[in-house]
């Protein structure tokens, strides 16, 4: 159950983004989670509900985007989506593949209400 410690890391990052932009509240946090990141999105969502209390993200919704596992074949060059425990080219079956995506664990986006805006924070 390492999802709780991940939530702590997530909320620290959100807090820092919010401060950077002088935000008074965070509405939505978007994450991209790949199956090979080792994180279970449902567990993360449960842990988040507990961890957000008392933070700037207290009322923020967590949006979890689950990415597929995509590999590129070194033999035939094809790019295919595969199962997390079968990283073989979907076309030729070779296992000489590079992971294109599927192991990421990313904070992709934060939506917030800005307070007093600061210079350089104009990412809208």
């Amino acid at each position: 159950m390492h999802e709780l410690s991940l939530c702590q890391a997530l909320l620290d990052q959100v807090d820092s983004v919010a401060r950077q932009h002088g935000a008074v509240a965070v509405h939505r946090i978007s994450l991209s989670i790949g199956p090979l990141s080792g994180v279970e999105p449902d567990l993360l969502a449960h842990a988040y509900a507990l961890a957000k209390a008392g933070t700037v993200a207290e009322n923020a919704e967590l949006e979890l985007a689950r990415s597929p596992v995509t590999v590129q074949c070194a033999d035939c060059g094809a790019e295919t989506d595969v199962a997390p425990n079968r990283l073989r080219c979907g076309v030729c079956g070779a296992n000489r593949v590079a992971l294109v995506r599927g192991d990421e664990l990313l904070l992709t986006r934060v939506e917030m209400t800005a307070g007093t805006s600061r210079e350089g924070a104009n990412h809208v």
Partner: protein, 276 residues
Amino acid sequence: MCDTCGCNITPGNREFAYRLAADGTRAVTVLQRLLAENDKTAAHNRAHFDRRGVLAVNLMSSPGAGKTRLLEATIDALRGEAAIAVVEGDLETDNDAARIRAKGAPAVQITTGSACHLDAAMVHDALHQIGLDGIDLLFIENVGNLVCPASFDLGQHRNVVLLSVTEGDDKPAKYPVMFRVADSVLLTKTDLLPLLDDFDPARTEAYLRDLASAAPLLPLSAKQGGGLDGWLAWLRRELAAQRARWRHGETTHPAAASGDTRQRALDAGRPASSPS
């Protein structure tokens, strides 16, 4: 990779990067790894190892697969050849560190309480309690768990995953996240294989290859001593490779490290006090 110029936008996350926010709110594209803070500390640990030419190996397995027994046998086998230190991770007790110390190697115990894995900060704290001068090889024995430890970079150069034959031969298919990051997989307790007619090492290897892994599968019995040669040969090769990297001021990371970890290892560049 930075968080400002957009170079961290990849085919895998591009769709999240550009989207308009609802009226009245400000949307910021972040694209930062959730474990960025951990990775920073891990890079710091790795630089600490690299400055001293120490090879750091992260040992992972389920509880009871034989990590500590393997370390005891390894310390005995490499006595006089490589100086070994150990960071032990467990939820409770310092039993394992005591076993390592009884073999004459320095050991620090991390008790994680309820945490199911070691993280880079815990290892960093432990490194303050263990002198690495004169040490060639640092083992980090992770908490026994085939899930969580795989997600946390500790600053190690190589990951070794143990699978004991009593656990079943399909573990790589059931725990792909863990077995994918292994640089070497040790099949342990092979002295019990004659009693387990449903464990087929060839099946384990097939499942491992399905993970696009080139890691060697090395069968051994640390208790009976059988098969240790393959493991020791792998370690000697890795030790020699780390010494060569040290001379050239280079570093490395586990083969299947995430993109961010790979980048940080490259960014770390030349250690500050590489030898002339």
